[in-house]
């Protein structure tokens, strides 16, 4: 009969209308600024710099090797190596800028980094009033703690932590071997930090071990590379 379809349709929409008041399950829209869906663990965009411990400048894993800067396809990374007053390289960056208006979140910088110092973030509310300076992230904007990294990518971060601890243990073993014939006081502070699980809480030794690792074959080079990186520990040695 003509019109029955219209009545059925009207009944359906009336059911929706009343149902949307009585049954909150019907309102599936996420009210975005107030509530948001949890992100998937593998969500990733825009890199950040990982630091260990609490000090975002001293704990930075980055050694300013500039591999990421060279590999970056849109060339949005800019790194200047820190030097002391004598002009000696300091193994950490003085300037580390990423222009996220250029960055395409390709993750190549993360893949090439030998020190696990740069990782992908999960930020997405990045709108700014200035499209140039505000989107050029400086070192202090980029530095985020390892705990943060663990909170956003737990699985990946555990793998990285385990690997770093392993490398550190290996480096210490090698160091202990090297130190046995020719004992040096500089090596002393690194020795007590032996537990494998507490990598993150021990900032400087971790950096030292990672730096020391590739230079192992020649003892002379090992000492030379270990020295600047191992220089900070004496300041912290009472704590350790």
């Amino acid at each position: 009969m003509l019109g029955t379809g219209l009545i059925k349709g009207l009944a359906e929409t009336a059911k929706n209308f009343i149902g949307s008041y009585s049954d909150p399950e019907r309102l599936v829209t996420v009210q975005y600024p107030e509530e948001r869906l949890p992100l998937k663990e593998n969500t990733r965009n825009f890199p950040f710099l990982v630091f260990d411990g609490n000090d975002s400048t001293k704990g930075l894993r980055c050694v300013a090797c500039k591999i990421c800067e060279k590999e970056c396809p849109p060339q949005c990374i800019y790194i200047v190596l820190e030097r002391d007053e004598k002009g000696k390289p300091q193994k950490h960056p003085r300037v580390f800028d990423i222009d996220i208006s250029v960055c395409m979140s390709c993750q190549i910088c993360v893949e090439v980094c030998p020190f696990d110092a740069i990782k992908m973030d999960q930020v997405y509310e990045l709108s700014r009033f200035d499209r140039f300076d505000d989107l050029l992230l400086k070192k202090k904007d980029l530095a985020k703690s390892n705990d943060y990294y663990r909170s956003i990518h737990p699985t990946e971060a555990n793998d990285v932590d385990a690997r770093l601890a392993e490398e550190k243990a290996k480096a210490e073993a090698a160091k202990a071997k090297a130190a046995a014939p020719a004992p040096k006081p500089v090596m002393a502070p690194a020795a007590p930090a032996s537990p494998v699980t507490t990598v993150a809480s021990q900032p400087a030794p971790a950096v030292a071990s990672v730096v020391a690792q590739p230079a192992l074959p020649t003892p002379a080079a090992s000492v030379e590379t270990a020295k600047p990186a191992a220089a900070p520990p004496p300041a912290e040695s009472p704590k350790v």
């Binding site: 359906e12 009336a14 209308f17």
Partner: protein, 393 residues
């Protein structure tokens, strides 16, 4: 006067007191102004309320919340919308007919406002007492077609012109059933004056009012009137003139800023006016449905019915998909027009059959027979066979 009557007549007495204050030679003009200003104030306000009601209601029908950002529960959304359209640039195409392009929105709003002058909003509350007010209403309502075509033509845009052509075809087709559906009411109450039509319905049998919609011919006429009213005011499902998917926005594609807001306003004012007429003709105007509810002031009844009817149109908009052009024309000429004519026959039977029971059954029979027969003819069951494809199975 009793207290109930005093509340009922509060606007009438207030107006008389104000007019009496003025010197004698200014009294006519003050009286006219006091009728016009409330209309100009109330209906645009109602337009604002309707936009938020519509957006909220449509949202709920689609299991959404609707606008909820501006003010508590989003109730200030119309203010934000209004300010936005006010501050927007009014772009005019270089090739447009400048004067006509400018005049079209004005010409659309003015007839819509004029139509409000003959609707009785409450007991003794007709702005313009006119014997042939119903004819005046339909004549003024036809003015919107002119405005729509002015807009479509002056924009010099093919989509505008297509939209305007569609609008003209649709409005002309549905004007006839609209007017014919009002004919039975005029026949039975014997007058063209809305106030007299309402007072003809202002009687009660066993507490139930004698509204025209409660009679078989009145019910059928009311349905025909509602459908034709939706088509006349370009409401969904008859919003072909502004079909977004085919012709973007139809005749007001080139309008922006305040002119666009005027089009929007004119459309809704047209809807309110035609709803007001429907209430007057079929829903007993300002009268209460049950005699024990007579203590509620008449103007509250009118505006309650108006809002209810507008909500019904919102409900329909949230339900029906847009019809196709051929369906629109088929429906107008193969169903609406014959149905309205059959309904006049039913009204005649009601007028001339003497006994009440006979009167009911004969009138209802004519309406029902017409409805089913026309419905069968329109749906055309079995006209098309199973579809066969040449190259696909």
């Amino acid at each position: 006067m009793t207290a109930v009557e005093q509340v009922d007549q509060v606007f009438v007495t207030a107006k008389r007191h104000v007019v009496d204050l003025a010197p004698l030679e200014f009294q006519p003009i003050i009286s006219v102004l006091l009728s016009i200003i409330p209309i100009l104030a109330v209906f645009p306000l109602l337009f604002a309320i309707t936009t938020i009601l519509e957006r909220k209601g449509l949202g709920r029908i689609q299991n959404r919340l609707g606008p909820n950002r501006v003010g508590p529960y989003g109730i200030l959304q119309p203010v934000a919308d209004g300010l936005k359209t006010l501050f927007k640039e009014s772009v005019q195409p270089r090739a447009a007919e400048k004067v006509i392009f400018f005049l079209a929105p004005v010409v659309l709003v003015i007839p819509a406002l004029l139509a409000f002058s003959v609707i009785p909003y409450g007991r003794n509350m007709v702005p313009l007492e006119m014997d042939a007010a119903l004819l005046f209403f339909f004549a003024v309502g036809a003015g919107t077609e002119l405005a729509v075509f002015m807009a479509g033509w002056a924009s010099r845009n093919k989509y505008s012109l297509l939209g305007a052509m569609r609008a003209i075809a649709q409005m002309l087709s549905y004007e006839i059933p609209l007017i014919l559906s009002a004919v039975p009411v005029v026949m039975l109450s014997g007058t063209l004056s809305p106030a007299a039509i309402v007072s003809a319905q202002d009687t009660y049998t066993a507490t139930i009012a004698h509204w025209n919609v409660f009679k078989p011919w009145g019910f059928a006429a009311f349905i025909v009137f509602l459908i034709a009213a939706a088509a006349e005011s370009n409401r969904s499902p008859f919003d072909l003139p502004e079909g977004e998917s085919e012709i973007i926005a139809g005749y007001y594609i080139e309008y922006s800023g305040f002119k666009f807001a005027l089009f929007f306003l004119g459309e809704y004012l047209g809807l309110f006016a035609i709803c007001g007429l429907g209430i007057t003709l079929f829903l007993g105007g300002y009268t209460a449905p049950f005699s024990f509810l007579n203590w509620i002031p008449s103007w509250i009844w009118f505006f309650t019915k108006l809002l209810a009817l507008v909500c019904f149109f919102i409900w329909v908009r949230g339900t029906m998909p847009r019809v196709r052009m051929d369906q629109l024309m088929n429906f107008a000429w193969k169903f609406m027009l014959p149905m309205a004519l059959i309904n006049i026959l039913a009204a005649a039977a009601w007028r001339f059959v003497p006994i009440l029971g006979f009167r009911w059954s004969i009138s209802a029979l004519i309406v029902a027979t017409g409805y089913f027969a026309l419905g069968e003819g329109l749906t055309q069951k079995g006209q098309y066979g199973k579809r066969t494809y040449k190259f696909a199975s």
